[in-house]
């Protein structure tokens, strides 16, 4: 009896916890409402199955627990019941998988008008790069990395000269414009993760990965690293600021291009060394 009640309480408490939990996803700030919707759908289906199975168990324990003289039924198989349950399960699974795959198709199909933004991870900081007037990002390689060129940009690539380089600072994005985030690393795996955007993807040294999203809400959002990258993994933070087009351009105008930074560096190197001493 007690066992049956506790089992039932476990099922009920789980459902109540779900309903009243103050710990829930962060308010969405991107176009991926579909992802949230698929999670909600999955919660409904799996929650119903969980409750049904545990409640059924509780009932069996209550109804068929051993008493003097009870004898179990002899019932090896029931083909019909087993097939019905399998078919029912298959339908439930399809109901989650189908929308999931449709949304995944959207997730991997980058809109043609998406602007590219590069995010580079390294132990343990984030750098960003935006294409300049030509709309293209220059090439890069870990072999070019040096104190003067920490992002490893190709100094001989004309497409890269006007790229806007942002280091030790926040990334700004304009509201409502689809963004294709190009992800790159120069040392180990990292993962550019902003909970409010829902999207995430590992960054791999030697490759460029990507995802896309459209910011739908202005605000400042925390960037975390979601792929273990060594001792200071938890401290690898940055911020993304989503703002109105006008504010964004005001910010963008203040940023430096790769060419400016390299030129400036050449001139200022000596002065910089003196300053820091």
């Amino acid at each position: 009896m007690a066992v049956a009640i506790i089992l039932l309480l476990v099922a009920i408490a789980s459902v109540l916890f779900h309903i009243f939990s103050p710990w829930w996803w962060t308010p969405l700030a991107s176009n991926w409402r579909y992802i949230d919707d698929t999670i909600t759908l999955t919660f409904w289906i799996t929650g119903a199955v969980f409750f049904a199975v545990v409640a059924f168990m509780a009932y069996c324990v209550f109804r068929f627990r051993h008493t003097e003289g009870r004898r179990a039924a002899y019932n090896p198989e029931n083909k019909k019941l087993e097939w019905w349950l399998s078919v029912g399960t298959a339908i439930g699974v399809a109901a989650m998988l189908a929308p999931g795959l449709v949304v995944w198709h959207q997730f991997v199909t980058v809109p043609a008008n998406a602007t590219e933004v590069e995010v580079m991870g390294q132990q343990w900081q984030w750098s960003y790069r935006l294409p300049g007037k030509d709309g293209r990002l220059g090439t890069s390689d870990a072999r070019y990395v040096s104190a003067e060129n920490p992002m490893g940009l190709n100094p001989d690539d004309p497409a890269g000269q006007d790229d806007v380089v942002i280091q030790n600072d926040d990334l700004h994005l304009p509201l409502g414009k689809p963004v294709k985030v190009l992800l790159r690393s120069i040392d180990v795996l990292h993962d550019f993760y902003v909970p409010e955007f829902r999207a995430k993807m590992d960054m791999i040294p030697g490759s460029v990965t990507y995802y896309w999203f459209t910011p739908t809400r202005t605000g400042t959002f925390e960037v975390l690293c979601a792929e273990l990258c060594g001792a200071a993994h938890a401290q690898m933070r940055s911020k993304v600021v989503v703002e109105e087009e006008k504010d964004y351009h005001a910010w963008l105008d203040k940023q430096r291009t790769f060419a400016e930074l390299s030129g400036q560096r050449d001139v200022a190197k000596a002065a910089y060394t003196r300053e820091s001493e």
Binding site: C60, H66, N75, N78, A226, G230
Partner: protein, 591 residues
């Protein structure tokens, strides 16, 4: 009605094995230490696995102390935290669960359940244990080498696993990989034994479709392990070469702490594919023996045949086969080609169907049963609750687009602890309470057992159920301290503290269990040969605990499946597998 007809082997004279003097151990050393008896090897495996498991338990306490009360314990720094999670994960998955289910339960139960005298290659079986022990010693030694154990996470992803930004880069990672290589060598020796024994050494009448589901589970898991571990083996060797000889299997051109390394041209993703080609089947290597054990526990303690035996067998085989084509669902956000997501999401969700069939058949076995709420039965019920819970959250993570926001968060940690941590450990406990009387001849203490059960089940549920919601919130895993993060409310820290307290209490209950294991060995109630009234062969041995060679002079002859419980017309509510058909009345189901 199930198609398990009696056959007419009863007329064949029993196979006699002459007493060969050389066959039995002659000294204390060959009887208890360098023993070739599968039962002794099973106990050696179990004790070793549980001992290293205690280390993993202590590590989990340290982790939870750090997560629940960050900054309070000055002796835990970020590097150590990473070392704790790495060693905890590796020990639990491989050195505890895999070794205990296959080396422990497999060694003890396979020969007894199939009616064999021993494993077919006893000497290799002995070597298997000693190589495993060496692997455990090498693993444990990493706590004492300069730099300590590796902190690369149990997945050991390169490049960080072998670069200097990760703790244990010096010795830890090298010894970890060496230990894994040893473990796989040891396991292969044992695994070949289990497979050949099941296929070749079954006693007369023991057809494959009469095997208890425990044997089916362990057998299928072993076949899978023999196919999956080689992937980990080569990955370990290649990573070791990258680390020691400077090859670049997994290492692209990269910068280490500001300096360009000599590496170039390798692929970090390749390691992930190899790792998860092993790693996903590994989940089922741990789960399938648990499935089998739970099926038998439910059937015995509900006094009812397992419902849908044939479907259960095929479900085990189907899960085993499918688990080799789902591995990349661990890599949805790894940066592999995104179109793989369509394929792997589909295969992953398909695997839910045979798994669900198993769950239905367990609960339908309870239906109209005669449920004895013994401790093994309680653990079986807890297994179903936690396994269903963890299995269902697998439908979130397997469905590629749902995985994107959840992967690498505490949701994943909660999911895999529920499904391949808590659930299989419930099966381990249930199995130990169930078979301890056969192993020792004594029952485990009932009151201590019930205390252990309730604290472990409810406590573990209280740790891992709420943890999902921290993941939903966006809290990443493998953070020693989430620190000041805008989206994490203060209440989340309180929840972390609550889970930590629960973890300490659950850990304490395990000490009670260990005490019970030792105390009952001397003071436990005498069990007799078949205290649960079970039908499968291991309970029909002439001696308890079974002697060397298991069966005395004559091997048993099997006449029926392992689930003849509450057969209409039978005198008792169970009919042993080796009972000839004459013992049944003419109204028997197979007449």
């Amino acid at each position: 009605m199930v198609d398990v007809p009696f056959d007419t082997v009863a007329g064949v004279p029993p196979a006699e094995v002459g007493e060969v003097e050389l066959y039995h151990p002659r000294s204390w050393w060959t009887r208890y230490v360098f023993s070739q008896d599968a039962k002794v090897i099973a106990i050696q495996y179990s004790i070793t696995a549980m001992s290293i498991g205690m280390v993993a338990l202590v590590l989990s306490w340290l982790m939870r102390l750090q997560l629940g009360f960050p900054g309070t314990f000055s002796f835990i720094d970020p590097n150590q935290y990473l070392q704790f999670i790495t060693m905890h994960g590796m020990i639990m998955v491989i050195y505890l669960l895999t070794a205990l289910f296959l080396g422990g339960f497999g060694n003890y139960l396979i020969p007894l359940m199939v009616g064999a005298r021993d494993m077919v290659f006893p000497y290799v079986n002995m070597l298997s244990y000693w190589v495993y022990l060496l692997a455990v010693v090498v693993l444990a030694s990493t706590f004492f080498v300069p730099g300590g154990p590796t902190g690369a996470g149990w997945t050991l992803y390169p490049p960080q696993a072998i670069l200097s930004g990760t703790p244990g880069q010096d010795w830890g990672i090298v010894l970890m990989l060496a230990s894994l290589i040893l473990f796989i060598i040891g396991f292969t020796m044992g695994g070949l034994n289990y497979v050949v024994t099941v296929l070749q050494a079954r006693t007369r009448g023991m057809t494959l479709m009469r095997l208890p589901l425990t044997v089916w589970g362990i057998f299928t898991a072993t076949v899978m392990a023999l196919l999956a571990f080689p992937a980990l083996f080569v990955a370990s060797v290649m990573l070791l070469l990258d680390r020691l000889l400077g090859t670049s299997f997994f290492m692209p051109t990269l910068v280490e702490m500001g300096t360009l390394t000599k590496y170039g041209g390798g692929s970090p993703i390749l390691f992930q594919h190899l790792f998860w080609f092993f790693g996903h089947p590994e989940v089922y290597i741990v789960a399938l023996p648990a499935f089998g054990i739970i099926s038998d526990l439910i059937s015995v303690h509900a006094r009812k045949n397992i419902f849908g035996y044939r479907m259960m067998v095929w479900a085990i085989v189907a899960i085993g086969a499918l688990s080799f084509v789902v591995w990349a669902h661990h890599m949805y956000v790894s940066g592999m080609h995104p179109y793989f997501g369509f394929f792997f999401a589909t295969t992953t969700l398909i695997i839910a169907i045979p798994t669900a069939i198993k769950v239905y058949n367990w609960v339908l076995t309870l239906w109209r049963g005669d449920i004895h709420l013994t401790i093994p039965m309680l653990f079986a019920l807890a297994f179903i609750v936690t396994f269903v819970n963890g299995g269902l959250t697998g439908l979130f993570l397997g469905n590629v687009v749902v995985d994107v926001p959840l992967s690498d968060t505490m949701f994943v940690v909660a999911h895999f602890h529920m499904v391949m941590g808590i659930a299989p450990i419930m099966a381990v406990f249930g199995g130990i309470y169930h078979w301890y009387p056969k192993v020792t001849g004594r029952m485990l203490n009932e009151a201590l057992g019930r205390f252990h059960f309730w604290v472990s089940f409810l406590g573990a549920y209280a740790i891992f159920f709420p943890m999902h919601y921290l993941g939903l919130l966006g809290m990443p895993r493998r953070y020693h301290d989430i620190g000041e993060t805008a989206f994490v409310p203060a209440s989340a820290h309180d929840l972390n503290a609550f889970m930590s307290v629960a973890a300490l209490i659950v850990g304490f209950a395990q000490l009670v269990f260990l005490f019970n294991l030792i105390w009952s060995l001397f003071k436990g109630k005498e069990a007799g040969g078949n205290p649960w009234g079970a039908a499968s062969l291991e309970w029909q041995t002439p001696e308890t605990p079974p002697g060397h060679g298991n069966w005395g002079k004559e091997l048993p002859i099997v006449h029926r499946w392992a689930y003849d419980y509450s057969v209409p017309g039978a005198a008792m509510d169970f009919v042993p597998q080796n009972e000839p058909p004459a013992g049944l009345s003419a109204q028997g189901p197979h007449a």
